[in-house]
């Protein structure tokens, strides 16, 4: 097997090397090494960078910056990121979480990408060697991206402002039937004043549920209050059919789980 790994101390040098055909950036390797183990001959070499900023987490004044090489395990145990721990812990088993990076999760195709769903609901900014992009635009263009993701940044919601749910058949850990993240703000009377809802496994990559977001505005999180949002949460979805669930099943259960997330 002709595979070569090249390691660079700077992102700049790694970016230059990544211009060669057949090379792929190596994060934790949980998807790409699996691909080469399975005989993916389109990959002829891996490039990685050990620049220390890629492994750093900074939290200051409610602003978070997570380097692209930070693992799910490091996020799950970070004392200032408790809000995101459920989403980080939802990725694979313990060994996978020690390897899986936040950068790699942005590229993970459905049914993977649970953490990227949370980043989409947080309206994160993805920084790359080529500049910054809102996560939604980044996800839309990721198939043609050759830039190295260096970090992800976002503003921490208030305590309780982020709700995450992953539905899987195998307990305690399994691959997603679907996942949902809601970042909500509520006025003192309990009505929703701002909402961002992101869905995983309801398309080939994480997507926003904009109709449901709008339907929640000005409503209370009661059974009656959320009914209009439940009715439209499936708008624009095109879930995959895979060994975990059919597209039909995913569409059927989405409003049920969305309701539980909002009322729970």
């Amino acid at each position: 097997m002709a595979l070569a790994l090249q390691t660079f101390s700077t992102v700049k040098d790694a970016s230059a090397a990544l211009k060669s055909a057949g090379t792929l950036y190596l994060g934790g390797g949980t998807l790409v090494v699996r691909a080469t183990n399975e005989g993916d001959v389109s990959i002829s070499g891996f490039i990685r960078s050990t620049e220390p900023s890629l492994s750093a987490i900074t939290v200051s004044g409610g602003k978070v910056r997570i380097g692209a090489s930070v693992t799910m395990a490091a996020i799950a145990r970070h004392p200032d990121l408790a809000l995101l721990a459920p989403a980080a812990r939802a990725v694979g088993g313990p060994a996978i979480r020690n390897m899986a990076t936040i950068g790699g999760n942005l590229f993970a195709p459905a049914p993977y990408g649970d953490f990227a769903v949370a980043l989409l609901a947080l309206d994160a900014i993805v920084s790359t060697g080529d500049g910054d992009l809102p996560v939604e635009a980044f996800l839309a263009g990721r198939d043609n991206s050759r830039a190295i993701v260096t970090s992800v940044g976002f503003t921490l919601p208030k305590d309780g402002g982020l709700r995450f749910l992953k539905v899987s058949r195998v307990k305690p850990k399994g691959i997603s039937v679907l996942s949902i993240t809601a970042v909500l703000e509520q006025a003192p009377d309990g009505t929703v004043s701002s909402s961002r809802i992101a869905l995983g496994c309801m398309a080939d990559r994480p997507m926003r549920a904009r109709a449901a977001e709008n339907a929640l505005l000005g409503r209370k999180l009661t059974r009656d209050g959320i009914a209009p949002a439940l009715a439209v949460v499936g708008d624009g979805t095109s879930p995959p059919t895979d060994p975990i669930a059919s597209a039909w099943y995913r569409n059927e259960v989405l409003p049920v789980h969305f309701g539980r997330l909002l009322l729970g």
Partner: protein, 160 residues
């Protein structure tokens, strides 16, 4: 294909080898270094049979490139027994009939070891969570969970 040097500590002893670039750690350990305790079940990250401990963290050797382990402290089940005696986890797996064909056992024991290193008295839920990336196709999970809980108890008795 150019060979590349790799050098790391395996169960406390220095190892240095020339390997093909892109070789997985599982392949390097089993076929170059001769430590066959990590098993290759799926090579996809799914079964956990290849689990090992790198710098104190549980990892999958089938998805780790050996070159990324230069300078690392690598631990496998082969290094667990001390002075010819079984490690408490190994002893508990035998006593609790937690190993039938034994293929999953080294991975299970590595996952359990990391848990007990950090959480000496785990709850049942913590054991289940710690083993959630490891698949057993014959013993069944209950004896394995009981073995880990038993090893934890015997450890704490030894310490007391």
């Amino acid at each position: 294909m150019a060979k590349v040097p790799v050098q790391f500590t395996l169960n406390g002893s220095e190892k240095a080898e020339f390997i093909d670039s892109g070789t997985t750690l599982l392949h390097a350990l089993r076929d170059k270094i001769g430590d066959t305790s990590p098993k290759g079940g799926c090579h996809q990250g799914t079964c956990g049979a290849c689990s090992i401990i790198i710098d104190g963290e549980l990892r999958l050797s089938c998805l780790t490139l050996a070159e990324t382990c230069n300078g690392a402290d690598v631990r496998t089940t082969a290094g667990l027994s001390e002075g010819g005696g079984l490690h408490p986890l190994q002893r508990a797996f035998l006593d609790a009939f937690a190993t039938q064909c034994g293929f999953c056992t080294p991975g299970m024991i590595m996952a359990a070891k990391v848990l007990l290193d950090h959480t000496p008295n785990p709850s049942r839920e913590e054991v289940v969570e710690a083993l959630s990336g490891n698949i057993c196709r014959c013993t069944g999970y209950e004896p394995i969970i009981q073995a880990v809980l038993t090893a934890a108890r015997s450890n704490s008795q030894n310490v007391a």
